[in-house]
């Protein structure tokens, strides 16, 4: 099944290029050059996702996003520019599902679009946290990278979850052990370091050069707050 995408972008040439590219990737793309046009089409037709430019000649993309969200739960991917007043927090607060700063790589646009479509078709997941391409599903006690489940033991999941709860902070081994007191130990291995290297093997692109769980010598581990950026 091919997904229908509505692209609301005022730059005609860019819109054509994106439509071409997404077309090659088997999406059906409709374009709208103004917020008015885009919103009208959204009312008349059904789309699987909307790619929305932040700055449109007749409206602010944030307002459009807010309005669309009031009537529809179609996934929205916002195109922004870094340094805009808009940033991730604002965009996600008003109901966008993801955002992508210009200039973007077409592959990245495709990946993000697929990710939000996948999320939409998946049963509504509660308590799922996303860090870039990584998803920690606390409901199902699963970890996914690019939507693919990565196998972790229950203790390792708890350890990863504890780290992610404190993303952006250095956690000492003692602090981690404290947080995991209630978890059942796995008899064969009690060292945090070994568990960390198992988790890395599961979720890092290159476990030798970890980007998600970092070691700070003499201090502990950090779960990176910004991943894949």
């Amino acid at each position: 099944m091919t997904a229908r995408i509505l692209l609301i972008e005022d730059d005609q040439r860019l819109a054509d290029m994106v439509a071409d590219y997404l077309g090659q990737a088997e999406f059906r793309v409709a374009t709208a050059a103004t917020a008015r046009d885009g919103e009208q089409r959204l009312k008349r037709e059904t789309f699987d996702a909307v790619v929305l430019d932040l700055m449109l000649p007749d409206a602010d993309g944030l307002d459009v996003c807010r309005r669309v969200r009031q009537t529809s739960d179609v996934p929205i991917l916002m195109l922004t520019a870094r340094g805009d007043a808009m940033d991730r927090v604002v965009g996600l607060e008003i109901g966008a599902d993801d955002y992508l700063p210009k200039p973007f790589e077409p592959r990245e646009l495709l990946a993000r679009l697929r990710a939000i479509l996948r999320r939409k078709s998946a049963p509504p997941a509660h308590d799922v946290r996303r860090f870039g391409r990584l998803e920690i599903d606390r409901g199902a006690r699963q970890v996914r990278l690019d939507g693919e489940e990565r196998g972790l033991t229950s203790y390792q999941f708890a350890l990863l979850d504890a780290l992610a709860n404190h993303a952006g902070r250095v956690m000492s081994r003692d602090a981690l052990m404290d947080l995991l007191k209630g978890e059942a130990f796995e008899a064969f291995d009690r060292s945090v370091d070994v568990h960390i290297s198992r988790i890395r093997a599961a979720i890092e692109d290159n476990p030798k050069k970890p980007r998600r769980i970092l070691t700070v010598r003499g201090a502990g581990y950090v779960f990176a707050r910004e991943q894949d950026r």
């Binding site: 340094g83 902070r169 003499g218």
Partner: protein, 424 residues
């Protein structure tokens, strides 16, 4: 228009009027004229009764004693040269005939009235009781007047200064970056005029900053849309471009993108001043994250600062980026405490180092090292931003000279005692 000086002037005039009225009342109260009259009458009476100057001293003394019995006044009769001829009653104050004229002569027993007789003799008269105590009355009335003036002037002065204080707090509010600060305009004098001017200036500044921000936001977007087109075209061109050339073009696009980003960030920081969103940031964790991107070696102890996490990340990233471009090798990052209240981040590289003379200049935007053979590449805005971000967080960034041993940058930020590192 009621002018400020008019207010002052009117206040002073009012004070004068009050003073004059008060003094007039004082004179009436004391009834001095009657007292003066009495003294003069006594003096005249004595004069008419006194025997001529050539009469014997005994006769003159007898006359004075008769007068003393009737009037109970102290009397003294002196020759033209001031020599005592006759005297009754208490001692009288001395006087100097060469300097004295008719009038009161002060003395320990009270003032005495001095009169020069037609024949050149002097008569000094002091009434037995002084019905008048000017000291006490004067003090009471003057105190009352002063009190009245003080009470009357207080609200005027207070109102004036209170308005000035409000104006000052408005100016300070604006200075702190609250561009919506305005003051209320009261009255129609200079202070009110100043308040109006302030409000006009403040709204003009607010407009300018707003349009500046709009311009920046539009700029960012307008510049990036064509950049996105170029990037897309390059990505979509497929095999028609050699991989090497493609990589170069990608790098150029990335550089241009970064430059736009830095320019906008620099002017945004200029316009805004203090960071807008702040939270407690674990600097060691931040350094570890950024260090992982740049393969830097990060060590240190956990320390937290309050700030905008995106800006602080940017600051560390720029230093690491600089180390990669101009240093080479694995950069060393060390996070720790500097004194009780400061956190420090040191970034060292293994490059040629920066001579002392250039340590300041390197923070200038687009600074290029003189005679540098480094492929003509300047420092861009990266280090200028590092310093700008550090300063906007109440800290600073400096370059520490190192000869040949690689360059060393040090950022110092105010540290906070954070819950981040306690046991959660």
């Amino acid at each position: 228009m009621r002018r400020l000086y008019l207010q002052f002037y009117l206040t002073i005039v009012a004070i004068l009027v009050i003073a004059v009225v008060a003094v007039g009342a004082l004179w009436r109260l004391a009834d001095t004229s009657r007292f003066d009259d009495a003294v003069e009458v006594v003096s005249d009476f004595a004069t008419s009764m006194l025997p001529p100057p050539d009469a014997p001293l005994g006769a003159q003394q007898a006359t004075l004693e008769r007068l003393h019995e009737r009037l109970r006044a102290d009397l003294g009769l002196y020759g033209p040269d001031g020599a005592l001829l006759a005297h009754v009653g208490r001692p009288l104050p001395p006087f100097r005939p060469d300097r004295a004229g008719p009038g009161f002569v002060p003395g320990p027993g009270g003032p005495a009235w001095l009169l020069r007789l037609n024949d050149g003799r002097w008569l000094l008269t002091r009434l037995p009781q002084r019905p008048w105590r000017p000291g006490g009355w004067l003090l009471v009335v003057l105190a009352a007047v002063a009190g009245a003036v003080a009470v009357g002037a207080y609200p005027v002065a207070r109102r004036l200064t209170r308005r000035l204080e409000r104006l000052r707090s408005g100016v300070e509010q604006l200075g702190r970056g609250d561009l919506a600060a305005r003051v209320s305009v009261e009255g129609r004098d200079e202070v009110a005029g100043l308040a109006e001017s302030f409000n006009r200036a403040a709204s003009r500044i607010e407009d300018l900053v707003r349009s500046h921000k709009m311009l920046l936001a539009n700029c960012s977007h307008e510049l990036r849309t064509p950049l996105t087109r170029i990037n897309l075209a390059l990505s979509l061109a497929g095999e028609t471009i050699e991989p090497e050339k493609r990589a170069q073009l990608k790098a150029d696009i990335a550089e241009l993108d970064q430059l736009i980003d830095e320019l906008l960030l620099a002017s945004r920081l200029d316009a805004v001043g203090a960071p807008e969103r702040t939270e407690d940031v674990d600097l060691l964790a931040l350094a570890a994250e950024e260090g992982a991107r740049y393969d830097a070696n990060v060590t240190g102890e956990p320390v937290a600062a309050r700030g905008d996490p995106a800006l602080l990340r940017r600051m560390i990233r720029n230093l690491l980026d600089n180390a990669r471009r101009h240093g080479g090798g694995e950069a060393q990052v060390c996070v720790g405490r500097a004194g009780d209240r400061s956190a420090s981040i040191d970034v060292r590289d293994h490059g040629p180092g920066i001579p002392e003379a250039e340590c300041e200049r390197i923070f200038q935007p687009f600074y290029r090292r003189a005679g540098s053979a480094e492929s003509g590449r300047g420092f861009g805005l990266g280090l200028a931003l590092v310093r700008q971000i550090a300063r906007s967080h109440g800290g600073d960034a400096e370059c520490i000279a190192a000869d040949g041993g690689g360059s060393r940058f040090r950022i110092v930020l105010p540290a906070i005692a954070s819950s981040l590192h306690g046991r959660p």
